[in-house]
Symmetry: C2
Subunit: 552 residues, 2 copies
């Protein structure tokens, strides 16, 4: 006889779902027991659900297909929510399996009971379903998988009551192949081609699927032929970059800089990207960052194939034979002396191995990362798509499991690292080839900037103390050791280079704690709001210089 | 001019809300800046929102009044959700302030935007409101505070858009005193008195407010006069116990044991407690744990005053002069030799200081805690009210802040500790007198029991591996050191006694990692389901003996 859980696991494996990032409780015990019957399913235990969800996100970004999470009722889902939000914004396919009380138990409102569906809707607006019986379970699962991997991809949530899991009589179901993407609108392509050839200043804003090699090459052909500006969204899900690939400039996080980047653009073409808006709102400043009078065109959205859209545009423009400008190979020299955040980025640029997966949640400390790794060997860059911090370490787990033959580097701020620090244990348990670099500047540095930017600059002791992480200063090397990960502290650039070399040469996970001063000292922090305000009025050449120092 | 945030903080402080457990982001920067203008508000920074919510829960349990949390949009609320669930089940007053994007920014669906209200409903079904303007903000806050501290207490959620926070023209408002509790139903009291005096076997099931000294004494007078059985709910919010107080038996976590505890009870009187149901459902077993034919009476519910209800019952029964049976002073001797979980509990019983606050999230390792601390000096016991693990360490922070002159001991399983391990940093930062004892048995031990109980006993390697926390074994002493807390590992009972003495004598936070074997070895684990099944058929004296070994 087949239990619901056994049939569900077979259904998942048949659909190509091969990894489950789990943190189970009692209501998931039959699912756990059924793992023994499905050799195709790898179960990766995490100590906190936010690690499981962030790992599933990273896995999907690199494999292109969904992993499952296994979560324990509403509380487990709550713990997973922040990284599921990042996954939703990354538009990756992901399948949550959330255990619930047995259907017969629900009316008693036992301690752990809560309204799971309402929580799930926050991250799974497109698909939340509670399976009602073992007989229906696998059909429900098929619908959930189809929802997750249809276009646009999404986070689907299947709620699995304990008795639906343990009862017999379930039948595995086959999941149909995902539907083809919606076609490209020829009319839109012609309109965009016309705008581009009109001579007006035009930019392509690339996002989602446009940021992989094929899309980048097509966009670069258009740029080579017609001089359009190539931009990428601020927080890409997965950006292929480095030597031999076209280089695109990412829109900055700071709205003031975006306005400089977009200045004079008359036509903005969205390629699986959103029209640019400010990350946060600021008193007296616009949220919409489009230059006045700029006309927005949509080449394709998330339900379409961005590469197909760009190919159509290349055709329409006769740019097929144009040679795209490619980034040359170029590495910064090894940094020396006193350690700073920029020197850490320099060391990464100096040593980044071939085919690395680079995950950037370094917030202010990573400001120079883009510039300093631009000519490094070709790599994938994963970023904080939804702004919910605590993404990099879990993402690294999923990326390493999706691509076991590729080195993974996660760069993360001290504040961000602490949200999902439990990730380190799973890295050790699975012996993943991950090097985590934590920038220890003992501060929520970005908030010190933001406190000034929102106009609350007079803040004194008690307010500023809310942004400081000293007293006591965290010791990440020790935290790593406490979870079985090789952890070292780097106080100088030479320490860092040595530690990074060792980490990249030695299999298994490593954590390097880079002791850096706050990226923006007090003086710079005061200067920044003024500088940002003044930026659009500065001469264009100075704007460019400054931009290169502050843009990603 | 007064900003919304400034007026809000004054409104909170005027209402007696004096502590804010925070983890802010950009949208909360004006609230943070306003802290400088309200000297009555203490802001306690946490590195993870689940620490903030668990601390607010612990604070409310010990102070009887709400603290505020300060959370960053839907993701911050998600991270806080598990411990808010515990707070909801604890029925404590608590006020979430969740920052949101500016109202003018919402239509742009920027990265961090999500449906906050839908998440909030999971833990705040009674009060969720998004404030729409600075002019309305303080009235909204007053409604939220009134909802939180009205009876039954609840978790109220006020969503604060950034522009409502930063705009001027707000006016602080005064919060009216909380309404008096609903009166006691005289008819119900007479019916219960009649049942008690009928000679039928009757039990009082005490919960909520009935578990403090006044309620316990009244209940014990009834018991002394009429021989009724005194029981407490399984997971009390706050139970006063120890030498000099009446002793009540808590209902067990294991349904099989509850059935033994309730065997033969013909009338069950609920005093601010729920009729007993199984924590989880198990195949082929009932969820409702009432004995057949047992009549349930409700003396009072959470909207009433349990002490008043019990006083009315004492009056109706003429039990006012009866001498309640009180627990004598009695401590176990110091344990020696090889360390086990029971010996850790023995050490706690041996050394528990006067007026301690004892927090129990030790799950299987704490099995003997109740028995071994029963005669210790009077103390408060806080437990895992909602079953969402990760509660003890944050609760300890809140309890220590509410009661700075009382020692706090948090006993926590290794698995549970990892969900909110970031708590240690806040303990160090605030230099709180907390001793955390982590039982390191390298296992989700309770799940090993549950895997067998749900009938999934055949589970082999891959399934069992989901419950094991070795490979690598966590090093909690090092984790504590990494967050600035004095941490030591105890390998023997003598180590433990020495470490515990030192921790209790030395101000500031301490973590003691107790290296214990899995509480239930393989053989015992196999035996347990059989034993539980057989229990009701064993002779009553043997049942009692066994119960004393397995009940809390």
């Amino acid at each position: 006889m087949t239990t619901g859980a056994q049939a569900l696991l077979k259904t998942l494996a048949d659909a190509g779902i091969e990894v489950c990032f789990s943190n189970p409780g009692t209501s998931e015990m039959h699912f756990v027991a059924a793992l023994d019957h499905e050799p195709r399913m790898r179960a990766v235990l995490t100590l906190f659900e936010g690690v499981a969800s962030g790992a599933a996100d990273g896995y999907a970004r690199m494999s292109g297909k969904p992993a499952a999470t296994l979560l324990h009722l509403g509380c487990g889902l709550g713990n997973a929510l922040a990284n599921l939000h990042n996954a939703r914004r990354a538009r990756v396919p992901l399948l949550n399996i959330v255990g619930d009380h047995a259907t017969t138990h629900m009316r008693y409102d036992a301690q752990l009971q809560s309204d799971i569906e309402t929580v799930a809707r926050n991250v799974s607006p497109g698909f939340v379903r509670t399976s009602r019986s073992s007989a229906e379970l696998c059909r429900d699962a098929v619908d959930a998988i189809a929802a997750a991997r249809g276009l646009p991809h999404q986070v689907a949530t299947l709620i699995l009551p304990a008795d639906v899991s343990w009862s017999e009589g379930a039948q595995p179901c086959a999941t149909p192949a995902a539907a083809a993407p919606a076609g490209i609108d020829g009319e839109a392509v012609r309109g965009i081609a016309k705008a581009i050839t009109s001579g007006a200043r035009t930019a392509l804003l690339l996002g989602g699927g446009a940021l992989r090699e094929a899309g980048l090459l097509a966009a670069a052909r258009v740029a080579a032929r017609h001089g359009v500006l190539l931009l990428a969204e601020t927080f890409p899900t997965r950006l292929e970059r480095g030597a031999g690939l076209p280089r695109v400039e990412r829109l900055a996080y700071l709205a003031e800089l975006v306005q400089v980047q977009l200045a004079g653009v008359q036509h903005l073409v969205l390629v699986d990207a959103k029209s640019p808006v400010s990350f946060f709102a600021y008193p007296g400043r616009p949220s919409d960052l489009l230059p006045e009078g700029c006309i927005v065109h949509t080449l394709c959205g998330p339900a379409q194939d961005a590469v197909q859209g760009l190919a159509a545009l290349v055709d329409a423009l006769g740019a097929g034979e144009s040679a795209p400008a490619l980034q040359g190979a170029q590495r910064p020299p090894a940094p020396r002396g006193r350690l700073t955040a920029a020197k850490v980025c320099k060391a990464v640029g100096h040593l980044l191995p071939e085919r690395a997966i680079l995950i950037d949640e370094a917030i202010t400390s990573g400001l120079m990362l883009g510039v300093l790794t631009a000519g490094a060997p070709r790599h994938d860059l994963l970023t904080l798509t939804g702004g919910a911090i605590g993404q990099a370490l879990p993402n690294a787990i999923g990326a390493a499991i999706a691509c076991p033959d590729r080195p993974v580097l996660a760069l993360v701020g001290d504040g961000a690292a602490m949200y999902t620090i439990q990730s380190l244990w799973t890295m050790a348990r699975e012996q993943l080839d991950i090097t985590a670099i934590v920038f220890n500047n003992a501060s929520y540095s970005v908030l010190n900037v933001e406190l000034d930017r929102v106009g609350a600059a007079a803040a004194r002791g008690k307010a500023r103390a809310q942004l400081d992480l000293d007293q006591p200063r965290l010791d990440f090397a020790r935290l790593a050791q406490g979870m079985g990960v090789h952890g070292v502290r780097a106080e100088t650039a030479d320490d860092l280079i040595k530690a990074l070399r060792y980490a990249l040469e030695t299999p298994g996970p490593h954590l390097i704690e880079a002791m850096v001063p706050e990226s923006l000292g007090k003086a710079k922090r005061r200067l920044l709001p003024w500088l940002l305000r003044s930026l659009p009025r500065l001469p264009r050449s100075l704007q460019r210089t400054l931009k290169a120092r502050i843009a990603p």
